[in-house]
């Protein structure tokens, strides 16, 4: 049978060595009535050849698309070396590096990762990953509340990814933490420090500051971080790691810098892949180290005095501290971090900055092109990174369907998350797009919007969005 190496003779010898006569007997401590009821509807096993064909067919069915959706998951070119190395068996099939001497490959890589990520964030300490950006934000909220000691309220702007806000709610609500929502400026598309004053009297553990925010707009991060500190709250930054190649690192925001930085590491060499696995990163100032959730690698020496790497500060973690741990996280997203580390090493500071600049330039060019279409306009005046909100003169959903018929995924419809924005669309362009792509999108959008604004008599009735 697949993956079981035993010959009949092996089985005989082994049962005899154990001193039982059959497999049955191996389970003699299990109540009889519980046994053998396993799901007969599981389909019979496929050979590797059969499953290969099946999966190829399903993959082909899903096709290839010209994608302009971002909204928290970004399409970037991933150098071929990244995954050819990350899937080497020695990385791919190792466990968490509990036996440090037998895991120096993973451990040194994580130490290098921590160095790179800490520098990107401009903070001293990072861990070796959390599940994803959204759950990392939830952990940051919990961490801030632990660190703050007295306050249990956290202020989160509406410009933070709405799904992430839901995730935070799911994760923290049972611990009696209250989440407050800060409004955004409907003209600029970012949070206004002035608008936070109404929360000044609340005892706040933290203010969350996204950069860029969900609309792709750059927030006044210096002012926001300072506001948080002025009000006795920690500043939690939510950042895109590729953007950090260009943007001021959270550790330098305002007078004192953000205290914690989190984000989704997916843009660093992790494929979109229908949503995962990605990884969450978290960095903080040194003073918060012992509040940090998750694994941390430290440098030390061996008995010969040579440098080596090991999991450290484990007294924060569940396997030591159990119910008093900083988090329940155990298995994290190590292989994704492996890929991200290789990605960052391949790109280097100059390469990553090029990716960021080209993405920004493409997004700007696209926004400009699309806003030239009759009736289409940019929703916000604030500066953007690589994503922007457009207002359409017609409902978004049917337009997206019409674009899809041309092979284009035109962006994310904001109707449900931000009904106040009307027929609004969140569009992203990274370095993966070229001029023809942008032109192709613009031509199609112009055609579709044009047609829908003035439907010809006798033609299709405009579909309801």
């Amino acid at each position: 049978m697949p993956f079981i190496p035993h010959t009949e003779e092996d089985v005989r010898e082994m049962l005899a060595a154990i001193g039982v006569g059959s497999f049955e007997e191996l389970f003699d401590e299990v109540p009889r009535e519980l046994r053998g009821r396993v799901g007969a509807s599981v389909p019979p096993g496929l050979t590797e050849m059969e499953v290969t064909r099946l999966m190829h067919r399903r993959a082909e069915r899903d096709g290839s698309w010209l994608n302009f959706i971002g909204a928290g998951a970004y399409e970037h070119h991933i150098p071929a070396a990244v995954w050819q190395i990350a899937t080497r068996g020695e990385f791919y099939s190792a466990y968490t590096p509990y036996q440090a001497e037998a895991s120096q490959g993973t451990l040194q890589l994580l130490f290098e990762y921590q160095t790179m990520m800490a520098s990107l964030a401009g903070l001293e300490v990072t861990n070796a990953s959390l599940y994803d950006g959204a759950s990392a934000l939830a952990e940051a909220v919990l961490m801030a509340v632990r660190a703050h000691k007295s306050a249990r309220r956290v202020l989160i702007p509406a410009t933070v990814n709405p799904v992430w806000r839901k995730v935070v709610r799911t994760i923290v609500r049972n611990q009696g933490i209250e989440l407050l929502e800060a409004p955004y400026c409907s003209a600029a598309g970012h949070t206004l420090p002035g608008a936070l004053e109404k929360f000044a009297a609340q005892d706040l553990a933290a203010l969350v500051v996204p950069q860029p925010n969900f609309f792709g707009v750059l927030e006044p991060v210096d002012e926001l971080a300072d506001w948080a500190h002025a009000h006795g709250a920690l500043a939690i930054s939510v950042v895109n790691p590729v953007a950090l190649a260009l943007l001021k690192p959270p550790g330098q925001w305002g007078a004192d810098g953000a205290d914690i930085a989190v984000g989704d590491g997916q843009p660093l060499g992790v494929p979109l892949a229908s949503g995962g696995p990605y990884f969450g990163f978290m960095a903080c100032r040194r003073a918060l180290t012992r509040q940090m959730p998750g694994r941390i690698v430290g440098e030390t020496v061996d008995t010969d005095g040579r440098p080596g790497y090991t999991l450290t500060l484990q007294a924060r973690e569940q396997h030591i501290r159990r119910s008093k741990a900083t988090s329940n996280i155990c298995t994290n997203q190590g292989l994704m971090v492996t890929a991200a580390t290789i990605y960052m090493a391949l790109l280097g500071p100059a390469g990553l900055a090029r990716v960021a600049r080209a993405s920004h330039a493409n997004a700007l060019a696209l926004a400009t092109k699309l806003a030239e279409i009759e009736g289409v306009a940019r929703a916000f005046s604030g500066p953007i990174f690589h994503e922007t909100v457009l207002r359409l003169p017609v409902p978004v959903a049917p337009v997206m369907r019409a674009l899809k018929a041309q092979g284009i995924l035109g962006g994310l419809n904001l109707k449900h998350a931000y009904p106040e924005l009307g027929d609004a669309l969140l569009v992203c362009a990274t370095e993966t797009k070229n001029e023809q792509d942008l032109a192709f999108y613009a031509e199609n959008l112009a055609r579709i919007v044009g047609k829908r604004q003035a439907p010809r008599s006798g033609a299709l009735k405009p579909t309801n969005s």
């Binding site: 496929l46 082909e60 399409e75 509990y98 190649a245 979109l272 229908s274 990605y278 080596g308 290789i342």
Partner: protein
């Protein structure tokens, strides 16, 4: 040598980023960073050579026997990796419309169905991204259930003292207090202690069965009755599902909610620390609370369900549908096993564990529970050896590295002194097990003849024994240019 030490200012692999490098565009000056981040400036060849070299410093399933108890280090089929990485799967954006991902969603739907079937649960969500997140979701559902009934006094979760650390930590994240239940001399949960612990404050009991002590909880049905009668729910920590897959189903044992570590039982790779996937399964009364998204099917079309479809859901645990690529790998593995294959997992995992246990006992090792059958893993204690020779479980573990085997889990569960938790898994051959027994025998002899050899082990790894105390006392968590 760290990658930073290979760095040279101005070096740059040009072909890997866009040729055209426009300036800062429309980004205001005040938003820009003043100094580039500390990423290495190296060539593509440097990177390939450096990380290929690092990889060779790891033990892994692909290179070594890895009998790490509780972790189920079995063979990760290469087909799962190849097929989950087909270009169309990798390229798909998570927010792309469902109709652009029917191939993918069909796999996810079928995986939900398969998991229901093999666990005996009535509904499954694939959302949790690891076992611990599954635990969180499971306990959060327990809480949502009690809350939905206005049964607000239940503020305590029970866990056996042998439980994995994630169990109490997860319960606390859901706002519960945790009470530990003792273990009896035979490794079972002390049923009397359980009986006196339950009450109207009991939200539920979290249980691993077979337990982390490597034995099947013989009183499982009785325990279920005790907890249920007290109004609590029964949570199954599926980390040890490999021990029963194809033999017994958690649903049939009376569990209300479970999680499954796909990175254990369904053989997705551990990746040096993750990613995993921790789907949760529930019986009918907890189904409305399952985390989102879920995959639904109607007339052969698949779609993701959200808040609007499931108003009572505990919500979302992550930004997307869990660790999709891990779920794909598990699906492919499950399809290759099929019913016959799954039926054999527990049988052969148990055969290997009991064989190894029998042989180690013959070799002179002391079993923690000598009167018990091993599940898919078993515990030995080196307490006696330590008293005789001063050699600890840690020393034995390190010496095993020299012999070409990864060490078993050490010092867990905590209440068995000097223990090694050994889990061979069903994918290892008798030959490999025999080689491990031989190595353990050699070590036993060395412990008497030359204990220093063990105290100073390992000798053949890329580094010798590392100073963990120094690492924690003087934390050096990032590289600094000298």
């Amino acid at each position: 040598m760290l990658i930073f030490e290979l760095s040279r200012p101005g070096r740059h692999s040009k072909g890997l980023s866009p040729h055209a490098a426009p300036g800062q565009g429309a980004i205001p000056e005040k938003h820009l960073r003043a100094q580039p981040p500390l990423l290495p400036e190296v060539s593509e060849l440097d990177v390939v050579r450096h990380y290929t070299g690092l990889s060779q410093k790891n033990f892994s399933i692909d290179t070594h026997f890895y009998p790490l108890g509780s972790c189920t280090m079995k063979y990760n089929p290469r087909a799962c990796n190849a097929l989950a990485m087909l270009p169309q799967f990798l390229a798909r954006h998570p927010a792309a419309p469902d109709d652009t991902g029917q191939g993918f969603l069909e796999c996810m739907f079928e995986l939900q169905e398969l998991l229901k079937e093999v666990t005996g649960m009535e509904a499954v969500s694939l959302a949790p991204m690891a076992g611990a997140q599954g635990e969180f979701a499971g306990v959060a559902m327990i809480r949502a259930y009690h809350d939905s009934r206005g049964d607000a006094g239940r503020r305590e979760i029970l866990v056996p003292d042998a439980a994995h650390g994630t169990n109490p930590a997860s319960a606390v994240m859901c706002g519960y207090t945790v009470r530990e239940i003792a273990t009896d001399a035979e490794g079972n949960v002390d049923i009397a202690a359980l009986g006196s612990a339950v009450g109207p404050h009991t939200a539920g009991l979290m249980l691993t069965n077979p337990s982390t002590l490597g034995v099947f909880e013989r009183g499982i049905l009785e325990m279920g009755t005790i907890v249920h009668d007290a109004g609590g729910l029964l949570y199954y920590d599926g980390a040890n599902l490999n021990a029963i897959l194809g033999e017994v189903r958690p649903g049939d044992m009376g569990f209300d909610v479970i999680h499954i570590n796909l990175h254990k039982t369904f053989s997705t790779p551990h990746g040096g620390g993750g990613p995993g996937a921790g789907p949760v399964g529930v019986n009918a009364r907890l189904a409305p609370f399952l985390p989102l998204p879920l995959v639904a099917e109607a007339k052969g079309a698949y779609r993701l369900l959200g808040d609007a479809d499931r108003p009572l859901s505990i919500g979302r645990l992550g930004a997307q549908l869990g660790n999709a690529g891990v779920l794909l790998r598990a699906y492919i593995y499950a399809r290759m096993l099929g019913l016959e294959g799954m039926r054999r997992v527990a049988a052969f995992a148990t055969l290997n564990a009991n064989y190894l246990m029998a042989e180690l006992r013959k070799a002179g090792f002391e079993l923690a529970f000598p009167r018990r059958r091993a599940s898919h893993e078993f515990l030995i204690t080196l307490q006696g050896l330590k008293q005789r020779t001063g050699v600890t479980a840690m020393d034995v573990a390190k010496r095993l590295l020299d012999k070409g085997a990864h060490a078993p889990t050490t010092y867990f569960p905590l209440m068995v002194p000097e223990c090694l938790l050994i889990e061979p898994t069903e994918t290892e051959s008798k030959r490999t097990l025999d080689a491990f027994v031989a190595a353990m025998k050699e070590i036993l002899a060395e412990a008497s003849e030359n204990p220093a050899l063990l105290k100073n082990a390992p000798h053949t790894t890329p580094v010798r024994r590392l100073d963990d105390v120094k690492a924690a006392r003087e934390p050096r968590l990032t590289w600094k240019s000298p």
